[in-house]
Symmetry: C2
Subunit: 186 residues, 2 copies
């Protein structure tokens, strides 16, 4: 599954494309969309939209994973971060892609096994998983890559449930008949 991870931000919007299935992952591309702080916010969002459009058209991800923005995180930057995340969601939806959000703790837990791992531990595990000598840089690109691995490995609770239901062998007809009789349906 090709996942595009997005670590939203106005100054640096991290992007990381990872091809993976639970237990394995390979890096497709990592980078950032930068917009100058002096530019009007509306023009910065337009630049972020253009960058995301270019990545999605070129790489054709199957799903977009975005870091969930919490108002509690940083009152000074939450509005800008939420606006960048909103533009990422919008571009994904325009291409018919489903958007999933993961919290930083979920990303850390998926990659290191602990939701409290520090940045260095996450970086080391990302390198090991992707067979890289050095972590993607800058940090926003690395965070987006970690997010994409997290989604490829964890998926969403709903997706896992669907897979579990699909993988469960159907009971034989005779057993279904017995169960129906017991429930008073036959």
């Amino acid at each position: 599954m090709l996942v595009l991870g997005v670590d939203p931000g106005l100054t640096r919007c991290g992007l990381g494309a990872v091809d993976g299935t639970p237990g394995r992952a390979s890096l497709v591309e990592a980078g950032v969309i930068r917009t100058p702080a002096g530019l009007d916010t509306s023009r910065r969002l337009l630049a972020i939209e253009a960058g995301l459009e270019e990545w999605i058209r070129r790489l054709r991800p199957e799903v977009v994973a975005i870091e969930r923005v919490f108002a509690q995180h940083n009152l000074m930057t939450v509005v800008g971060t939420a606006q960048a995340a909103g533009v990422a969601m919008l571009v994904a939806a325009r291409h018919g892609l489903n958007v999933y959000q993961h919290t930083p703790s979920e990303v850390k837990a998926a990659i290191t096994g602990s939701g409290r791992a520090d940045k260095q531990q996450v970086g080391q595990m990302v390198c090991r998983i992707l067979h890289l000598d050095v972590a993607p840089s800058p940090a926003d690109a690395a965070d987006a890559v970690a997010l994409a691995i997290c989604h490829a490995w964890r998926g969403t609770a709903a997706e896992r449930l669907e897979e579990a239901v699909a993988a469960t062998p159907r009971p034989p007809r005779s057993w279904q008949a017995v169960a129906a009789v017991r429930r008073g349906l036959a």
Copy 2:
């Protein structure tokens, strides 16, 4: 000046188009874009984008005024509100329109003369200014209309400065020469 006011929100995004110059204003159109709470946020933002595109293409405003989102206002809804505001900014920028943000206090002060006016006072003044018997409804549409009047009347500090500079008669040449001599330039 035709101003499109936007009171951003995921559930109800208020829109109000007003044609005005300081001291007078007339209502062009007021309404809301509604999106269902059960829909995925990315699809809600797509619906808001489509609604804004339609309004801007049809009414061709000269400027877009958006309520400034503060993280401190409501931690539960600030992320969704900021995302909707981000989409409004994006669509405006795409059409080459400048975006200005005003705080609720600025809107109240522009319309009633007091930044602490309550909703009812603002509503009554909006009706009087626009010669309406009843205020636009729902409240989000009325708020967007008030925002548009505020922008048409106040503009931005930068715009007012530009106008003031343009309106100031240039000093006569002889005076400029004297000033230049005084500054040691001639």
